[in-house]
């Protein structure tokens, strides 16, 4: 798809997502949509380092959780508004991502994966023991029923752009997901993307060909962490309550890496497909059976794709279409 058509589709989707908040009264689609969009962003964020760069990161939940708690700190300190909470969450995670990357990116393969897992445990332990943000008991963040910005009523039952906070957050999540897709597509088409692909294929050869591998990995880690942090930054406002065990849950890390592996890691479309497939199935399972089986679904899909379609859903399509030709 050429760039003009791509950006036109993005703009159309922004419009469609706003119109759904206007015309749909039932709140469940916004709840389910928010969850799936959150997964899409997480999958795309993970894929920047894991898919484009080939560095498997088990610590995504740490960046998500730190983003969420960054928002809580901003709220506690100066009663920050939602956009500021999201920004602080993203910035906080980006800084931690940069620092962590600098310390761990000289490690390769399984050693890097273990280091990122350790980051998750350390971050959760720190928050557990930090009373200012509620410690193990968690923290509340109560959104306003009526939200206005420079005299424009953003959320309000009568005359507001959105009827309630859930609709606003769904729309915001749509914007963030589309923005993340735009960023990922730009990376793929850039020198940065080609450099990351080279280091994924063979790091020693890439370095010998002049690719500054450490610098590229640091950029990828910081970007990936920032996007995870932004997703985390919106989370306390959505949930109104947050506690460390769920904010730093290993489920988040597993989901974040499973979705790109299921969809395909080479382009932005793979993680989006993986997230839509997995997110939809998890929503169906949650409604019809129980959310407890969500991780089982992820596990079964992950194992099946690793064995039968190691290049993900997109790889499978490519293989099938080649055979037909």
């Amino acid at each position: 798809m050429n760039s003009t058509r791509f950006y036109f589709v993005v703009l159309v989707l922004v419009g469609v997502s706003y119109l759904t908040t206007v015309f749909i009264d039932n709140q469940y689609p916004f709840f389910a949509g928010f969850a799936i969009l959150q997964l899409i962003i997480m999958a795309l964020a993970w894929n920047i380092l894991g898919g484009y760069g080939g560095y498997v990161n088990f610590g995504s939940a740490a960046f998500f959780g730190l983003g969420a708690y960054g928002a809580i700190v901003a709220y506690q300190l100066f009663g920050a508004s939602l956009p500021i909470q999201i920004l602080v969450g993203g910035l906080f995670s980006a800084l931690v991502g940069l620092g962590t990357g600098y310390l761990t990116l000289r490690l390769r393969g399984v050693y890097f994966a273990i280091a990122t897992l350790a980051l998750l445990v350390v971050a959760e332990t720190l928050i557990h023991n930090w009373d200012y943000v509620g410690g193990a008991a968690g923290a509340y963040l109560l959104p306003k029923r009526n939200l206005d910005f420079w005299g424009v009523l953003i959320v309000g039952k009568v005359g507001g752009l959105f009827g309630n906070n859930k609709e606003l957050l769904f729309f915001l999540m749509c914007i963030l997901a589309l923005l993340t897709i735009v960023i990922c597509r730009a990376i793929e088409k850039s020198k940065l993307g080609r450099g990351l692909a080279a280091l994924r294929d063979n790091e020693e050869a890439a370095e010998s060909m002049g690719v500054p591998t450490l610098k590229l990995k640091l950029i990828a880690t910081t970007l990936s962490a920032a996007i995870m942090g932004v997703t985390g930054g919106i989370f306390p406002y959505y949930m109104t309550f947050i506690e460390p065990t769920s904010a730093f849950s290993l489920d988040i890390s597993v989901n974040a890496l499973a979705m790109p592996l299921i969809g395909g890691t080479f382009t932005w479309l793979g993680p989006v497909l993986g997230a839509v497939i997995l997110g939809t199935l998890q929503q169906i399972a949650t409604v019809t059976i129980s959310s407890e089986i969500n991780l089982l679904i992820v596990g079964l899909f992950l194992v099946s794709f690793v064995i039968f379609a190691p290049e993900g859903f997109l790889g499978l399509i490519k293989k099938y279409s080649k055979r037909r030709d």
Binding site: R194, A197, R200, N202, E207, P212
Partner: protein, 239 residues
């Protein structure tokens, strides 16, 4: 052009290189021989920066390389091919060749280049035109070696280190690679260090041959003379 002074590299208690001193002239064709484990690949890893915790100094064009990462050494004009080919498998041959141009050339040696024409030219020189849009996984052994050399040469380096580019090739394929290396040296005046076990190739390619054994230089002379050195016969050629 390349000066190696008192270079020593130890892996724990094992000394892989011991006090190596070596000068390589601009435009020279140097053969590096020696039995397996004698330190040849360790030496080129020290030159390219893959190994940096060595003792001694490596100078290139009068400048010390000691503190430079491998990618910065590549931008100074040092390029290599690998003993076991390491192509970028997710990219076509053409895309493989774009990487050094984008990074080594644009950020280091020259600022404005026509990448497409540079890539087309080297693809044609290496006789890879028909395969240009294929993935490396489909290549034969000889074409894989050509790709390695093309990728190393596309940035127009000053020094090319060819690490056993002829390993596993048939006699006629060895001649092909030999022709390519000699043509590269004659047409672009690139200095070439060739590590090779195939003595026929070393003898016809090299202007000078350096022989390693147990991390030390045991001979440094012309191809005609090196085969007569008793230490080389004992350590490498067989008596």
């Amino acid at each position: 052009m390349l000066e190696i002074k008192n270079l020593t590299k130890r892996f724990g208690g094992f000394t892989a290189l011991s006090n190596i001193n070596l000068d390589v002239r601009s435009g020279e064709r140097l053969g590096l021989i020696g039995p397996n484990g004698s330190g040849k690949t360790t030496l080129i890893n020290c030159i390219c920066g893959v190994i940096q915790d060595y003792e001694g100094e490596v100078y290139f064009d009068g400048e010390s390389l000691n503190s430079l990462a491998p990618h910065k050494r590549a931008r100074k004009g040092i390029s290599r091919s690998f003993q076991i080919p390491k192509p970028f498998n997710s990219m076509t041959i053409r895309q493989n060749l774009i990487i050094p141009l984008e990074y080594a050339v644009q950020e280091g040696i020259r600022s404005h280049i026509d990448m497409e024409s540079e890539v087309d030219q080297i693809i044609e020189n290496m006789q890879l035109s028909e395969l240009a849009d294929q993935l490396p996984t489909n290549l034969t052994q000889i074409d894989m070696r050509k790709l390695e050399l093309a990728r190393a040469m596309v940035a127009k380096p000053k020094l090319l280190i060819s690490d056993e580019a002829m390993a596993g090739l048939s006699s006629s394929e060895i001649d092909d690679i030999l022709k390519i290396l000699i043509a590269l040296n004659e047409n672009t005046n690139v200095t070439i260090i060739m590590i090779e076990h195939i003595m026929r190739a070393v003898m016809s390619f090299s202007e000078r041959v350096v022989c390693f054994d147990a991390g030390e230089v045991i001979a440094n002379t012309t191809p005609e003379e090196v085969v007569k050195v008793p230490a080389v016969e004992r350590a490498y050629l067989g008596e």
